[in-house]
Amino acid sequence: MEAEKGKTARYLREKQGVPERVKEELKEFNRIKRAITGALEQEDLTIAQLAERLQMPLHEATYYLLTLVKYGVVATGEIDDMDEYYSYKLVK
């Protein structure tokens, strides 16, 4: 099967398929991303506030939120008066 330049992903997808694990992980990431951006749409939040609002373990909230900072979806805001926790805001 000859693959057309610029459409080779389709060629490989048809040839070998995509593992269920990969599809599930993408769904899970999208679900968490939607939940985080939804929460930040309302107000700026610290990681602890976000974790509480989403009923998510703190370390997971940290990981996903800071990953979204890297991807440019979320920006780092101000640090609190104790210089301990930053707040985070949605990039609009």
Binding site: Y63, L66, T67
Partner: protein, 435 residues
Amino acid sequence: MNEEKKIIHYDALVVGGGIAGGEAALNLANSGYRVLLVEKERSLGGKMILLSKVFPTLDCSACITTPKVSEIARHKNITIFTESEVTTIDKRSENDFVAQITKKPRYVHVEDCTACQLCEQACPVSVRDEYQQGLIGRKAAFIPFSIANPKAAAIDIENCTLCGACEKVCPTHCIDFTMQPEQFELHARTVVMATGFNLFDPLEIPRYGYGQHKNVITSMQMEREIAPTRPFNTILRPGDGKVPDKIAYVLCAGSRDASVGNPICSQICCMYSIKQAQLLMGALPMADVTIYYINIRSFGKGFEEFYQQAKGMGVSFVKGKIGTIKEKENGNLILRYEDISEGVVKEAEHDMVVLSVGVKSNPDAGKIFPQGALKLDPHRFVAQTDLMGSPAKTSIDGVFVAGTASAPMDIPDSILSAGSASSEAISYIKQHQEA
């Protein structure tokens, strides 16, 4: 798999593209020999390219590594295979080492990639970034890290959904999912083994709580946190994003510990921990940094002064052996330790703990040669058969060892070792030159 095996000829094969392998390749190439440099990762530079600064000079690590890697990549006598593995090396004669090499597909034509990162932005997948030590995510279409060489995108095929979004946005059409593994049979006249070391896995010591207590991290994770290409905007606890202000270092985590199969000193942990402590005090001026140690081994040039400098900056040194690390509800950590000076058991609270993980051998080096021909020492580093007279010599005539493949050592010693290995390799080639 592309079944067609390509036969290639070079003067020297260098296995490993870290700082030692790179240095050895450069020396050989500058002497006029054609070198094939084989690296299993997606970038040259080994572990050094991921470091923040180097001890005891506090020079920027990337500023040293990047020009060197660039020189290697541009050298007309050096050919580089990244994402490649040397599966076997067979010595057929004094002049003919035959290596079987598998080159994995990158799914990107490197020469056409402009590193524009549009594929990265388009990719919907997010997985843990191994180059940031899992502290943050990365895409499945990604540039390994900002100073990677080659600086080109790669596709993480294990996690790719094959959605084609990267291909659609690529302006140079350099993404190609039809790429397949390539097989090479290399004929070389000499071999330099620069396969480096592995970091100790702290999961092997459950009482330290690594993996379970989220604010216990490894020294390599802290190295990323303090590097200019850091994962976060500042130093943060991975457990809750707090800026830490009471940080502990636990030295000899997996070194000098026969119970985890690594009874030897890793040579570098004392000094890299002291380096990190100094950098932390610069980044977080209000932070308390405490180093728990058994002995401080500041044996190298300028090391003792560096140690004294850290003390002068306010780093606390406690001669103590850590028994357990427990986590409090607020994520802080209670270190229970034996105060060796006073001979009593004490407890101390910190909000972040860094395990100064040790150096372990990379036993892969021994597996490449048939029937154990390449001898390993009792700690599974490549054995140096004439340590005093000819330290790069191995048990196979014509195969030389460079850098931490032979023993734990710091960066200057790795470079010296690579110099020795390349000199011996050149001498070997000249000795066995066919008339």
